[in-house]
């Protein structure tokens, strides 16, 4: 799939730790975040990002790109019509390069490509499906505080477990099933 190669290019940038692509309805199309980020925590992050977009769209200006810098890492999220691309990177990562490569990635995010993601990988629903990241004017009744981003996701909610990209073997043997999976840049090796 072309899109997978495009996201490989993002991960190839030195310092980039992870990439995630999620839909405006909360479904995760692609999750190549570091393995230490648990699905529960990740669901909280998606909900907060959604709330952030919604708040800024309705109360400030509709902006698609946000860069948050922390002590040793930065997070970039970029929105298209149907999806949000999130990049987690170390402080040393070249931001200009990341923007350039993510520009290419976003260019490939056509409805057909996202449908292909749905069909092949299967988009896992988020634990708490966040409100759609709608642009200003498209959801006049939505309020940014309706699903408070300050509260963690309810414990009863099921955790979003992204389905593996490749179909599981029909009858995996027990030894293979218990073999620890080592991850590098969000991919098993």
């Amino acid at each position: 799939m072309v899109l997978n190669k495009v996201f490989d290019n993002v991960l190839d940038i030195p310092g980039v730790d992870g990439v995630c692509l999620f839909g405006t309805a909360g479904q995760i199309y692609l999750n190549r975040m570091p393995s230490f980020i648990s699905p529960e925590i990740f669901a909280d992050a998606l909900r907060r990002i959604t709330a952030l977009y919604e708040t800024m769209d309705e109360n400030f200006l509709p902006c698609d790109d946000y860069l948050l810098r922390f002590a040793e890492k930065w997070i970039l999220f970029r929105r298209t019509d149907q999806a949000v691309l999130l990049v987690l990177a170390a402080e040393t990562a070249n931001f200009a390069s990341t923007r350039m490569v993510t520009n290419m990635a976003l260019k490939h995010l056509t409805p057909a490509a996202l449908a292909e993601f749905d069909a092949s990988a299967g988009a896992a629903p988020a634990a708490v499906a966040p409100a759609p990241v709608a642009r200003m004017g498209s959801s006049p009744t939505a309020t940014p505080f309706s699903n408070s981003p300050f509260q963690p996701a309810p414990a009863s909610a099921p955790a979003p477990v992204p389905e593996p990209a490749a179909a599981a073997p029909a009858a995996p043997d027990a030894a293979a099933a218990h073999k620890p999976v080592r991850m590098f840049r969000g991919r098993a090796y």
């Binding site: 992050a45 810098r69 997070i75 940014p144």
Partner: protein
């Protein structure tokens, strides 16, 4: 450095069109320029959510945000218990202005 002097210095930087400083509670301490009224309404909430998003990924010490729109870029920097927001037009060299702001605000 006096606050007024800091504002003047930041506002004199090329392509800076607005400046706002808010308390943690959301009160506007000082503002100058265009479009800052709207920014003042959301900047504290924005900062709080940014911190929470970072926490979701195990990140601490939020120290800067850039909101990039088509015609404007907003730089948000927490300073002690306050938040400073600066609005730049599309021609601004954001990194240079951020570095300049950090120097003016006495941030490392």
């Amino acid at each position: 450095m006096g606050n007024n002097l800091a504002i003047n210095q930041i506002m004199q930087a090329p392509n800076v069109i607005g400046y706002v400083r808010c308390s943690e509670a959301g009160d506007v301490i000082e503002q100058e320029g265009n479009e800052v009224d709207v920014l003042a309404n959301v900047i504290v909430y924005f900062q709080q959510i940014a911190v929470l998003i970072g926490e979701s990924f195990g990140l601490e010490h939020f120290h800067e945000a850039q909101i990039q729109g088509k015609s404007l870029t907003v730089v948000c920097i927490p300073v002690n218990n306050e938040v400073v927001g600066v609005i730049l037009n599309s021609r601004a060299r954001v990194n240079e202005i951020v570095a300049q702001m950090r120097q003016i605000l006495n941030l490392s």
